[in-house]
């Protein structure tokens, strides 16, 4: 396993370390390099093989004014703590070595009380804390100042993905994990595909923002509490269902910034990454135009108008079971497979089997109801955000796969009728 992980990385890492030391001219860099070499040295003690793989020991490079302040603040506090550490541990180990009985030390039983000393070591930490609190307060006030945004994006957490609604641009779309399950694998079932570079950190539709603009986020949630966390932009904000909280960032540079959901939100909490792509203003304008065409924007509230990820057939063309089933397989792979499994056998009792399921084989209305409204008290969430066509397709797929061969199919009109009622 070690060899597998290290394969091909060692050379890259050596280069990485050399580059780091070349850059190590500032004091901050020198200390960081020292910390790194100490930790690498420790790693050699644990296992010589892992030593070369040791990296990422600090907060990622900041990409916004706030995250730069956070980075600076963290380094400052760390150095202060390091200084206190040296003093306290020096005193502690001095007394441990000097006053050991084997060294002939006799106890001074009268040295056990001193009001003056108590006052001194109450006051000194207090003063040190003051010097920490002052810069921290400044950053807090900067972080909380969400006034004068250049643009506003509403971020909604879902189990398990994100939705971004650009108010002024009239664009809204879902963003979810694009790493295929074949890279993730299952207990007892090895991943069939090699893990990619951005394993678990890649999404189908990233959030896109222009560089150098104050972006205000209105963060909320559709179901449970989620956390919109992109460290390099200095944002970590809970999305709380029923409430909207605002937060802001300004990206300093063009690039791609990654993050993950930071608050446990159920089964796939570990599988709802965030990607923010920062573009130049011209590129951003281009993206907005494309996005408008793709996710043509209707009012967000009109759920049925949310555009489909799986394209609906041309109007007028009669739907066939095969077409619906083919489209449904894609919808299933994107939305259902994590719980109900590719085999349709689910993971009972939490995630019931669809193969042979009474609900799937039973009346259409019952199944549509569960898909649109979820099943309260269980992990089954509402999938009302899917289009009528997608719901019809995925239902058709479940009714005609595995052990199920009903020969029945569901039309988008059936779904539409049920959605209205």
């Amino acid at each position: 396993m070690f060899v597998e992980l290290l394969n091909g990385r060692i050379i890259k890492l050596i280069r990485f370390e050399i580059m780091k030391s070349i850059n190590a001219n500032g004091q901050q860099h020198a200390l960081a390099a020292l910390a790194r070499s100490v930790s690498i040295g420790l790693m050699f003690l644990v296992s010589p093989a892992t030593a070369l793989a040791a990296y990422d020991v600090n907060i990622a490079a900041p990409a916004s004014p706030i995250s730069a302040q956070i980075y600076g603040l963290h380094m400052y506090i760390l150095y202060v703590c390091a200084a206190i550490f040296v003093v306290v541990f020096a005193l502690m180990f001095y007394s441990i070595f000097k006053f050991r009985r084997s060294n002939g030390s006799k106890p001074d039983v009268n040295f056990h009380e001193s009001t003056l000393i108590e006052i001194i070591w109450t006051l000194i930490p207090f003063v040190i804390l003051l010097f920490m609190a002052i810069p921290a307060t400044k950053t807090v006030l900067d972080m909380k100042d969400t006034t004068n945004p250049d643009m506003t994006v509403k971020v909604t957490g879902y189990q398990w993905g994100w939705r971004y609604d650009y108010a002024a641009e009239e664009v809204g779309f879902y963003s979810s994990l694009s790493t295929p399950w074949s890279q993730i694998g299952q207990p007892g079932e090895k991943a069939t595909e090699e893990k990619g570079k951005d394993y678990l950190l890649e999404v189908d539709n990233p959030m896109v923002v222009p560089v150098g603009k104050r972006v205000r986020l209105l963060v909320t949630s559709n179901d449970v509490i989620h956390g919109w966390y992109v460290p390099q932009l200095g944002v970590n904000q809970y999305g709380i269902p029923g409430f909207v909280k605002d937060v802001w960032f300004k990206a300093d540079k063009v690039g791609t910034f990654k993050g993950q959901c930071s608050q446990i939100c159920g089964k796939l909490h570990g599988y709802m990454p965030i990607t923010v792509v920062v573009k130049t203003e011209a590129d951003y304008a281009k993206w907005v135009a494309e996005a408008k065409a793709r996710w043509g924007t209707a009012p967000v509230a009109a759920v049925a108008a949310v555009p489909a990820a799986v394209a609906a057939p041309e109007p007028g063309k009669p739907l066939t079971l095969v077409d619906l089933k083919t489209a449904g397989e894609k919808v299933y792979a994107a939305n259902c497979v994590a719980c109900h499994q590719a085999s349709g056998k689910g993971m009972p009792p939490t995630f019931p089997a669809l193969s042979g399921s009474k609900v799937v084989l039973g009346p259409t209305d019952g199944q549509i109801n569960i898909l649109l409204n979820g099943k309260p008290g269980t992990a089954m969430a509402s999938f009302a955000r899917l289009s009528d066509f997608e719901v019809a397709a995925v239902m058709t797929y479940t009714k005609n796969s595995w052990d199920n061969s009903t020969g029945k199919f569901v039309t988008p009109d059936d779904v539409k009728a049920k959605r209205k009622s």
Binding site: L5, V57, E113, P231, H269
Partner: protein, 538 residues
């Protein structure tokens, strides 16, 4: 003092075991003896420590490499949830109550706890609670999987396992409250003549303060999870925005309990430290009075810092600043305690038996955990570290080498008194050094993971986190298996340890060492010792 030892029934063992009750089984169900109940608490918590530890190892096994290999994500979430609940409510709290039962009557010169029958009841309540908690893994929907904080609406989604967890916490809470009532009443009413409050050993002091904390916050937790229960089943909407409630309110109420709770887990540990460090430094505790005041200050401050668990909910700047300043303030009394312990060693005559090794380990590691706590108290830094592995590293630094090492130090320290036999010193030292090294291999890299942005409570992770996670898992298995040495050492001590001396540690000066033989007889201090005019015993 040693020369003035008063043997309580020294040569009269008529009160010893043998003739007590009909048989061992009836005895464990019906005993009201504080020593029996203390031992039962300790055995129970040792068992739960390994149950919780096994869950931790399953978690670490899943995190050994990226991808899903060992458990499904849902089961992983249940494991993290129940690991925390078992360790907090099943291992650490009962273990400290076990110590309290054993030691408080001995250290203040009382015959037993104030309410012996309630004492029996508070122990036995824990069994159905634990059975409920563990059985929740096997019901439809599985065990609670929302993290031990049980935040709604996620916790309203789960199945009957969540209800079982809620009931289990209710029962455990009731047990803790009864235990605390017993402890407070015993300490305030049953001290021997001359055992004034400011002469009590620090362990008794810290437990007195802890018991008040428990009485103050356990009912808050009970209210909190009751509201959760009625939201789940009876159509209330305390935490549901659609009905006019607010999920954030749950967090406020929960953490109003939750923050004092972490001090409930650590204050008695401070007490054990304050007895072991002076003993092996052969000097009285430095700054006894300021240690008492510092403990009380920590307890009081612990009620006004809960918001630091919630910096990312979007509270106003004034709220964030208040909770940041209050949290930073806790560093002051905590620092005072650390400095006093160091000053106790200063100009001492130190030896390094196993309890002292664990105590010094506690000092070092707890200080490191204090530093990461200080880093996390800084709101902007917390924003970027909230719910990452940095937080996991932080609280394991204060709880494992903090609470658990204090417990182990305490067991090694008092085993000779409890059993009349000595543990194996060499094995004890092996246990310490293996734990110290493997603990740091497990948890130090988690700081790096958190700084690099790895969220906690995820079963699978991006590739840049792979190396540190692998190292952490290797450390965790070493740490877990090292603890078997402890079990072996305790068993072999009881079965075949060398005979311990009455005052095994030459400068231990609390009453159990100065007034009672080893092992302590079944009944002690039926007549309280008269301590008026005697030298201070701390």
């Amino acid at each position: 003092m040693a020369s003035a030892t008063i043997h309580d029934h020294a040569n009269d063992h008529s009160h010893d075991h043998a003739h007590h009750g009909p048989g061992p089984w009836t005895r464990i169900f019906t005993t009201t003896n504080h020593k029996d109940i203390g031992s039962m608490y300790l055995w129970f918590s040792l068992l739960m420590f390994f149950v919780g530890g096994a869950m931790a190892l399953l978690i670490r096994a899943e995190l050994f490499t990226p991808g899903l290999q060992v458990v499904q994500p849902e089961v992983f979430n249940s494991l993290t949830t129940v690991h925390a609940l078992v360790m907090i409510f099943g291992a650490v709290m009962p273990a400290f109550v076990g110590f309290a039962n054993w030691l408080i009557p001995l250290q203040i010169g009382a015959a037993d706890m104030a309410f012996p029958r309630m004492n029996n009841w508070s122990f036995w309540l824990m069994i159905p609670a634990t059975v409920l908690l563990m059985a929740s893994f096997f019901v439809p929907g599985g065990a609670a999987a929302s993290g031990w904080t049980l935040y709604p609406p996620l916790s309203t989604q789960g199945g009957i396992g969540v209800d079982m967890t809620i009931i289990a916490i209710h029962i455990l809470g009731a047990s803790s409250i009864m235990g605390s009532i017993n402890i407070i009443t015993t300490i305030l009413n049953m001290r021997a003549p001359g055992m004034t409050l400011m002469r009590m050993p620090m362990f008794v002091w810290t437990w007195l303060i802890t018991a008040y904390l428990i009485i103050a916050v356990m009912p808050v937790l009970a209210g909190c999870i009751t509201m959760l229960l009625t939201d789940r089943h009876f159509g209330t909407a305390f935490f549901n925005a659609a009905g006019g409630g607010d999920p954030t309110m749950f967090m406020h109420i929960f953490w109003f309990f939750g923050h004092p709770e972490v001090y409930i887990l650590i204050l008695p540990a401070f007490g054990i430290m304050s007895q072991i460090i002076p003993t092996f430094s052969r000097k009285p505790l430095f700054g006894y009075a300021s240690m008492v005041y510092a403990t009380a200050s920590i307890a009081i401050l612990s009620f006004i810092v809960w918001g630091h668990h919630m910096f990312t909910v979007g509270m106003p700047a004034a709220g964030q600043l208040f909770f940041m300043y209050a949290t930073m303030l806790i560093a002051v009394p905590t620092g005072v305690k650390i400095f006093n312990w160091i000053a106790t060693m200063w100009r001492g005559s130190i030896t390094f038996e196993t309890p002292m090794l664990f105590a010094i380990g506690f000092l070092c590691m707890f200080t490191l955990g204090g530093f990461s706590g200080l880093v996390l108290s800084i709101v902007p830094v917390d924003i970027t570290l909230h719910n990452t592995y940095y937080v996991v590293a932080h609280f394991h630094y204060v709880l494992f080498p903090g609470a658990i090492w204090a417990l182990m130090a305490g067991v090694y320290f008092w085993l000779p008194k409890w059993t009349g036999r000595m543990y194996n010193e060499t094995l004890g030292k092996w246990h310490f050094w293996l734990s110290a090294i493997s603990f740091n291999v497990t948890f130090f890299p988690q700081h790096f993971l958190g700084l690099a942005g790895m969220p906690r409570r995820i079963p699978d992770y991006a590739l840049q986190f792979a190396e540190w996670n692998m190292i952490s898992t290797i450390g965790a298995f070493a740490l877990g298996f090292s603890q078997l040495l402890f079990v072996y050492n305790v068993f072999s001590c009881i079965r075949s340890g060398e005979k311990a001396k009455e005052r095994q540690w030459d400068s231990a000066d609390s009453l159990e060492w100065t007034h009672l033989p080893s092992p302590v007889p079944y009944h002690t201090f039926e007549m309280p010792p008269d301590l008026r005019g005697a030298k201070a015993v701390h």
